[in-house]
């Protein structure tokens, strides 16, 4: 279970769109394996009667009213941090993949 293969690391790198050399993949395979082992210790104490926790604070149903707020950006503000734009939209380089 704690074993992670070089193929899995390469696959994850591809999903994350990170280019890795073979050396880096080897290095990360060892490191991720160790991290997996460390995390696995949790399952030793997390017996089936312990409910999974996705949030440390026991709150629920925190919702807002359906009213337009005062943080709506102008187009200028929205584009201010963009490396490239055409004054109305963000410009991104040609996309090889497809929408999900």
């Amino acid at each position: 279970m704690s074993e992670i293969s070089a193929e899995q690391v390469a696959h994850l790198a591809n999903l994350a769109r990170i280019a890795l050399t073979d050396e880096e993949i080897q290095h990360l395979t060892t490191e991720l394996g160790q991290i997996m082992q460390a995390v696995e210790k949790v399952s030793e104490v997390a017996t089936p009667d312990v409910p999974p926790t996705s949030h440390p604070i026991p709150l629920r149903n925190v919702m807002r009213d359906d009213v337009v707020g005062d943080t709506v950006l102008t187009t200028e503000q929205a584009l201010a941090g963009a490396p490239e734009h055409d004054d109305t939209r963000f410009v991104v380089s040609a996309i090889l993949g497809e929408e999900q």
Binding site: L15, A16, R17, S54, H55, I57, L59, R60, N61, V62, M63, R64, D65, D66, V67, V68, G69, T71, V72, L73, T74, T75, A78, L79, G81, D86, T88, R89, F90, V91, V92, S93, A94, I95, G97, E98, E99, Q100
Partner: protein, 504 residues
């Protein structure tokens, strides 16, 4: 690209049993987005806004921004779940679906994964041929829509060959409910029609709930169609494809039919179906291969740490259940009976998307026949010419008032069409327009007789023919009188008077 080989549809159905699954995305028409207080472009008040004007830092995933759930979107989702006959989860959570594509700036979409808000429902669907199906619903979950990309450069404007892409994040974060059916078996040759009727039923449901504008041409309602074939008699499902980008009722039916024919040809030739997404091309009526379908694992779903669980109270669920409108299939059956329409007349109304309009016009006092006539006739004609919806031209109350004016003899059909033109132009109510434009029928016989005598005097040959018993010759005189009265006369009354005066 070579055109795919297709097997004849009837032959395909003889050899294979189609199984379909449908995913429908519904954009909710809340005032604001799912997790941000930005205006929601799926609400008609904000439709057509300039690019990147309906966004907050949350929509862009800027550092330090945090999502907060829109309470109204949750209520709408629960209502929809209940209308689909689903169980509502006492506790449901959001999850991150991770992928890298610039339609969302965060590199993940907030969705629901293993804990959807609604699950295990069913919807009754009636086909145009009268056959009824119960479509099993697996789940309905809440998520956010993605932004819009425009690919620039290359010869086709499509992704392939694009030099760069422009991104508008107005749609990013629009509240969506994704409704997923279980595999639908046993439809046979009705599978394409069932797919269409199902989406049409979902549209009726969300419209009657008032939770979406449900305009397919605007993307308020979108359908992905999964199709697989198995040899007749086989239990095990075949490999499926998922056809995306199907954006009209008509293309849903065509896309399912096309996939059945395409897959049948491959299987019959000894080939195998590749599990993949396929793109629907409205212009050619074909699908083409997209990407291979990712495993859910590749999305690395995990619970969204920035949001808390949604736990609707039993009281809230009861309140929303009590407020549900009559289910569309039952409503249609009831209205068809009450109105006394033929199948054809009723289909005309339903297929024109005018059921609500006709029902409200009848409720406002018009006869069902008159309501149907004006909505599917003149208003639809004008709407088609203007490339808009008939519903946007007049209100049911205005149409009912128009029908009353015709009944009272104030307007002829011809004058009524002119009044409708005024209504569509926003000139006021039909009575106001009759007044302002002076369109009422001249019911004063004295004025008519004067015009008739003039016309007869100027056409002595016609007068002679009428006196000889050639009554059809009166048409020329009637035409002249109607012209003199600027159309504001009842032609039947004019005819009576013409014959009377000719004899005199």
């Amino acid at each position: 690209m070579a055109r795919a080989a297709l097997m004849d549809f009837d032959e395909a159905l003889e050899r294979f049993d189609p199984v379909i699954g449908l995913e429908v995305h519904v954009e909710l028409n809340t005032t604001t987005k799912m997790f941000s207080s930005a205006p929601n472009p799926a609400n008609s008040a904000f439709h057509g806004a300039e690019p990147n004007t309906l966004i907050t830092p949350v929509c862009l995933g800027l550092p330090g921004s945090l999502p907060v759930v829109n309470g109204t979107a949750v209520r709408y989702s629960i209502s929809l779940g209940l209308a689909l006959g689903c169980e509502i989860a006492p506790s449901s959570r959001f999850a991150r679906k991770n992928y890298f594509y610039p339609d969302l700036a965060k590199n993940y979409q907030i969705s629901q994964y293993d804990e959807p808000i609604a699950f295990d429902g069913s919807v009754e669907v009636e086909l145009e041929n009268g056959r009824t199906f119960t479509v099993p619903i697996e789940r309905a979950h809440m998520e956010e829509d993605a932004g819009k990309l425009t690919h620039v450069g290359g010869s086709t404007g499509r992704i392939q060959g694009a030099e760069y892409s422009l991104v508008d994040y107005n749609r990013a974060g629009v509240p969506l409910v994704e409704i997923v059916t279980r595999p639908i078996e046993g439809a046979g040759a009705d599978a394409p029609a069932l797919a269409r009727a199902y989406v049409s039923t979902i549209r009726d449901i969300v419209l009657s709930l008032g939770i979406s504008e449900a305009r397919m041409e605007r993307g308020n309602l979108r359908c992905d169609a999964n199709v697989s074939l198995r040899p007749r008699g086989e239990q095990k499902y075949g490999t499926r494809t998922e056809t995306k980008n199907v954006n009209s009722m008509r293309s849903i039916e065509r896309a399912v039919r096309y996939e059945i024919q395409r897959q049948a040809a491959i299987l019959a030739g000894g080939g195998t179906i590749t599990q993949e997404t396929r793109h629907w091309h409205e212009d050619t009526g074909t699908t083409s291969a997209g990407r291979p379908k990712s495993d859910a694992d590749d999305y690395r779903y995990f619970p969204e740490p920035d949001l808390l669980p949604v736990e609707p109270t039993a009281e809230l669920i009861d309140e929303l259940r009590a407020a549900l409108p009559e289910p569309p299939a039952a409503r249609r059956r009831r209205l068809k009976g009450e109105w006394g329409f033929t199948d054809l007349e009723f289909q005309d109304v339903v297929n024109g998307g005018l059921l609500v309009e006709v029902a409200e016009t009848v409720a406002a006092g018009a006869s069902p026949a008159a309501a149907r006539k004006w909505w599917t006739g003149e208003l639809t004609r004008v709407a088609n010419a203007r490339e808009t919806d008939a519903a946007s031209l007049a209100s049911p109350a205005q149409v009912a008032e128009l029908a009353a004016l015709v009944d009272e003899g104030v307007l002829t059909d011809r004058l009524a069409r002119q009044v409708l033109e005024g209504v569509a132009a926003g000139e006021g109510s039909p009575r106001e327009i009759v007044e302002a434009r002076g369109l009422a029928v001249v019911s004063d016989d004295g004025a008519l007789i004067a015009a008739i005598d003039d016309a007869l005097a100027s056409q002595p040959d016609v007068l002679a023919k009428i006196r000889d018993g050639k009554v059809q010759a009166a048409g020329a005189v009637i035409g002249a009188v109607m012209k003199a009265m600027q159309g504001k006369a009842d032609a039947a009354r004019v005819r009576e008077l013409v014959l009377e005066r000719a004899q005199g």
